[in-house]
């Protein structure tokens, strides 16, 4: 395990930093022009907001970015000083800390707080607390749990579409904007193209050697988080696909001497990209993550509101665990995966709770070994580097011995 091998990130991935900065600059420009800003949780109707000329920013994305850049502690500590417990989700602590610090950094202060009860058990109380601190209107959407395909063909879908219509009404009343169906169709189409491109890119990771690694996929999802329905997202994924395609044609892996192909289950540990590098330097490359895949949703422009409603309803954490496991098993086979790294996330109980049953089924049915890593996605104080590297060494050594 001493071999230190080259590992790198893609040319196109390196452009993400600028894209994020442009996005926040534009959001502030909009704010200064008097246009509305919505703070949203992810998997909310972003395309619809753009169609309504409302600019979405996502405190979850902001927290991930702050964590990755080493800027999060100020906000976490601000929230903690105000009495928010360290055992609360770190994204929520960051968002609250940012709001309590005056909301004067990257994210412009909101005119609307929008969330859906579709993936996370903290969203609603977090958003309610933000609404009280920031004194802005709050829209909470409901998304019933989806157990089967049939759920999407009955009242659940109508119910969700109806809420989107209520959101349109609220926006028209509050912000004097006018909803335009043509505009929404255009946004839905762009969002669909971006997702299609991302799925094509992910599919190319089945190639050996794998052309795109974990540090790439962790960054490259950004346009699908808050830029769905924009030309920027489409252009980014076109460029990325071209680069990945080229690597595949040249048989060039993202790391030298690919020895192990791994899957990573969970949100990324944003402050520990070095951990991904640690794997890569030992010949282990991440080729698949349910998290990366989760951002892509094909939308049907002939049914724009229904498509968006379906996306909100079927986001990865709002569907039955059986469906998730089935998909994971399918991907383990398709991507020739040698081992699974399971990130048990202190902050995200929704993701972490079913991990053991998932891992055990994967292990039993497909004989895939797994390693559990415990940390927090955004709070660097919960990370024990030496211990985690020790576990990784032992795991890779056992893969080697198999």
């Amino acid at each position: 395990m001493k071999s230190q091998k080259r590992s790198s990130i893609l040319r196109t991935t390196k452009k993400i930093g600028d894209l994020i900065m442009e996005y926040f600059t534009r959001a502030w420009d909009r704010k200064n022009e008097g246009k509305p800003i919505a703070w949203v949780t992810v998997f909310t109707p972003i395309e619809l907001l753009y169609a309504l000329d409302i600019t979405p920013v996502a405190p979850e994305h902001f927290a991930a970015m702050c964590s990755a850049r080493g800027l999060i502690l100020d906000f976490l500590e601000k929230a903690e000083k105000n009495g928010y417990s360290q055992t609360l989700c770190s994204y929520s602590r960051c968002g609250l800390g940012y709001a309590l610090s005056g909301a004067a950094g990257f994210m412009p202060p909101p005119d609307l707080l929008l969330t859906f009860r579709n993936s996370c058990d903290v969203y609603v109380k977090w958003w309610q607390s933000l609404a009280m601190h920031l004194k802005v209107p709050l829209f909470i959407g409901e998304a019933p749990y989806v157990l089967s395909e049939e759920d999407l063909n009955n009242y659940v879908l109508d119910f969700t579409v109806n809420q989107l219509e209520q959101l349109i009404k609220l926006a028209e009343e509050k912000f004097k904007v006018k909803f335009n169906m043509e505009n929404l169709i255009k946004r839905v189409e762009l969002s669909d193209i971006a997702s299609e491109l991302w799925l094509k890119i992910l599919n190319l990771r089945r190639t050996k050697p794998c052309p795109l690694g974990g540090r790439d996929s962790a960054s490259d999802i950004f346009p699908l988080v808050v830029l769905q329905g924009t030309e920027d997202a489409v252009n980014f994924y076109k460029e990325l696909l071209a680069e990945v395609d080229e690597k595949v044609r040249k048989h060039e892996g993202i790391i030298e001497n690919e020895r192990f192909r791994l899957a990573f289950d969970g949100i990324w540990i944003w402050h520990a990209f070095d951990m991904i590098k640690y794997f890569e330097e030992r010949g282990a490359v991440f080729v698949y993550e349910p998290y990366s895949e989760a951002w892509a949703y094909r939308l049907d422009k002939s049914k724009p509101l229904e498509s968006i409603a379906k996306k909100i309803l079927t986001m990865g954490l709002n569907i039955d665990i059986d469906l998730r496991i089935k998909n994971f098993m399918d991907k383990i086979k398709k991507y020739n995966i040698d081992g699974v790294i399971i990130f048990s996330n202190r902050s995200c109980k929704t993701w972490s709770a079913p991990q053991i049953v998932t891992a055990e089924i994967l292990n039993k049915e497909l004989n895939v070994p797994y390693l559990i890593i415990e940390a927090d996605m955004a709070d660097p104080r919960q990370y024990a580097k030496a211990q985690i590297e020790n576990r990784i060494d032992a795991f890779l050594e056992t893969l080697e011995e198999r």
Partner: protein, 261 residues
């Protein structure tokens, strides 16, 4: 002659083996703050104990928390070293529970000695030797007196807190209420046994079960853990050097691989 060094968080162990994989000498010294110095001392001690010559050394492997900080021909992880040693010494063993100074782990191996699963507690002091060190300081007894006192206990107290810091105040409270020291000690042993039992249960206890690591020298704790899991474990004569022995076996295998490979 082959050398295995286990640079543990609390103690550094070295084992020297011969061509027939028999232990010819070993030594255990405290790791202190300088792993390099500790490993040098331990090696010197092991060599001089049986008048061995360093020039006969063919290969060395380092393992343990400080493995990257000491000199050796190559490194390996504790999981693999423990598994290798366990398989060599006790081929019927399928589960190994190792309790060290700073971490504890459970390892599952198949009938060929291959690791099929492992689980570690390395973030929390409860369930490790550190827990006992902290507690024995509070009670005011030496760490090697714990075992004898354990067997005098008639009704162990219940330590409910899973956190070392909170458990500390529980112990203080029991002391001030006049509970017998031996009952507190047995209660502490049961508490670590509970923690380790929970951790190891995630991979299951397949027979035979082997206990290793420095804490396995504490017979009182061994009794607590055996009762908890309901299986009588195999206990090596010197459980603290099993990992270093595995490193020495790894060293030998590296050389034979080199010869034939």
């Amino acid at each position: 002659m082959y050398l295995g060094i286990d640079a543990g968080a609390s103690a550094t162990k070295v084992v020297l083996i011969d061509e027939s994989e028999r232990i010819i000498s070993y030594a255990i010294v405290p790791s202190g703050i300088d792993f390099m110095e500790a490993s040098r001392k331990a090696l010197e001690k092991a060599l001089s104990l049986h008048n061995l010559d360093l020039n006969d050394l063919k290969y060395s492997v380092a393992t343990g928390y400080g493995r990257r900080l000491i000199k050796a021909d190559s490194i390996s992880t504790e999981v693999l070293c423990i598994a290798r040693a366990a398989y060599k010494l006790y081929p019927s063993v399928r589960t190994i529970i190792d309790v060290g100074g700073q971490d504890s782990k459970a390892i599952k191996i198949d009938k060929h000695g291959k690791v099929t699963n492992f689980v570690m507690n390395d973030k929390c002091a409860a369930g490790t030797g550190r827990f006992l060190e902290v507690m024995s300081n509070i009670i005011g007894v030496k760490i090697d007196e714990l075992s004898a006192l354990h067997f005098k206990s008639t009704s162990p107290v219940k330590i409910t807190s899973t956190c070392t810091v909170f458990a500390e105040s529980e112990v203080v409270s029991y002391l001030s209420q006049g509970y017998k020291i031996e009952d507190i000690i047995a209660g502490l042993h049961n508490a670590i046994a509970d923690r380790i039992y929970l951790m190891a249960s995630t991979i299951g206890f397949e027979k035979e079960v082997l206990f290793t690591g420095g804490v396995a020298k504490n017979k009182g704790f061994v009794e607590s853990l055996s009762q908890k899991i309901g299986i009588k474990p195999i206990l090596p004569k010197e459980p603290q050097i099993i990992c270093a022995y595995g490193a020495a076996l790894t060293a030998k295998s590296k050389v034979s691989k080199r010869k034939f490979g």
